[in-house]
């Protein structure tokens, strides 16, 4: 859809560097979280961690959770796809009209 042309090569490298930094930070944070999750949690006000979950409480919730996450993913990907499709149509028309103007001149 978009290209990093020659002029943007400096920006391209900066972009790659930025992404690499983000990945590094993400990896570090992910690691830290894993370490933390393995330690016992203290009780807090409001949202309180459960120490054990009776199996029968999980089952009705799982389909809802799966549905919620699927809907989010489906909407995000679906919307991105509609934009892609519309952009493709417009760019095809643009190429066509540009050609017709070129032929006229």
């Amino acid at each position: 859809m978009t290209r990093l042309d020659g002029r943007g090569s400096d920006h391209g490298r900066a972009a790659v560097l930025a992404v690499a930094l983000v990945v590094l930070c993400a990896g570090v944070t992910g690691g830290l979280t894993t370490v933390r999750a393995q330690q016992p949690e203290a009780a807090q006000d409001g949202f309180v961690p459960m120490s054990d979950i009776p199996p029968e409480d999980q089952l009705p919730a799982a389909p809802l959770l799966v549905a919620a996450y699927s809907v989010v993913w489906a909407l995000a990907i679906g919307y991105l796809w509609t934009i892609w499709r519309r952009l493709g149509m417009v760019e095809r028309e643009l190429a066509d009209v540009t050609r017709r103007i070129g032929e006229k001149e």
């Binding site: 409001g46 949202f47 999980q58 919730a61 989010v72 909407l75 952009l87 417009v90």
Partner: protein, 221 residues
């Protein structure tokens, strides 16, 4: 032009955040009263955050267009309205999916939920107006965009002003770290996704505008 440079970065970052978010979320502890279904929280709240961001952009861009007639502001407003409507839909679907387990009902007409629906309706009205309104509707739409943005603070404060069934906004800032990290991780993913979608959707508007200009040039010859 900014969008062209940013787009690859935004896509990669948002993809990464989205792929890793479930991992982070799974590691989060279970909440005592709601158990597994509470995990919808990690997608529900960020989608509304992304929606508010888009509506804010819509309002500002609309105001700029209304008073300065900057065409690029109008294009950004259209993109922001569509993106906001999509995130609003995510929020309106994930909410009841959580609510049916947590509250026992799919829906209640309390202050926050009602205002959320109203905001979504205003966005749909905006999009319908842009699509079917014909010439001159761009300015009215800009007015509508500003109205949508004016709704957001009220929506945000609605749980504080009225007694509602919805959890208070104060829950989020006071979250313990085990719940806070997955939330803000997910929020980062949604915000970056929002910016990605905005950039590519405004690009579509830009291309459409170029196409119109070319058609006009073609007819003139």
């Amino acid at each position: 032009m900014l969008t062209k440079r940013l787009f690859p970065v935004l896509t990669v970052v948002s993809l990464f955040l989205f792929v890793t978010a479930p991992i982070v979320i799974v590691r989060a502890p279970y909440e005592s009263t709601m158990g597994l279904v509470q995990k919808i929280f990690y997608f529900h709240v960020p989608s509304w955050m992304a929606m508010f961001l888009s509506v804010f952009i819509l309002g500002v861009a609309s105001a700029i267009y209304l008073f300065r007639r900057t065409a690029s502001a109008d294009r950004l407003a259209v993109a922001a309205a569509e993106v906001a409507a999509v995130f609003g839909l995510m929020g309106l679907i994930t909410g009841p999916l959580w609510g049916v387990k947590a509250w026992g009902v799919w829906w209640q007409w309390d202050a926050r939920l009602t205002m959320a629906v109203i905001l979504e309706l205003i966005l749909v009205a905006y999009l319908l107006l842009r699509q079917y309104g014909g010439p001159g509707s761009d300015r009215l739409a800009a007015g509508l965009g500003i109205a949508a943005m004016a709704n957001v603070p009220i929506l945000y404060m609605s749980t504080e002003i009225w007694r509602t069934v919805h959890p208070l906004t104060s829950v989020v800032p006071t979250l313990p770290a085990e719940f806070g990290l997955p939330l803000w991780w997910s929020a980062a993913g949604f915000i970056v996704l929002c910016l990605t979608l905005l950039s590519v959707r405004s690009r579509l508007e830009e291309q459409r505008a170029s196409l119109e200009r070319l058609y006009l040039a073609l007819e003139e010859d």
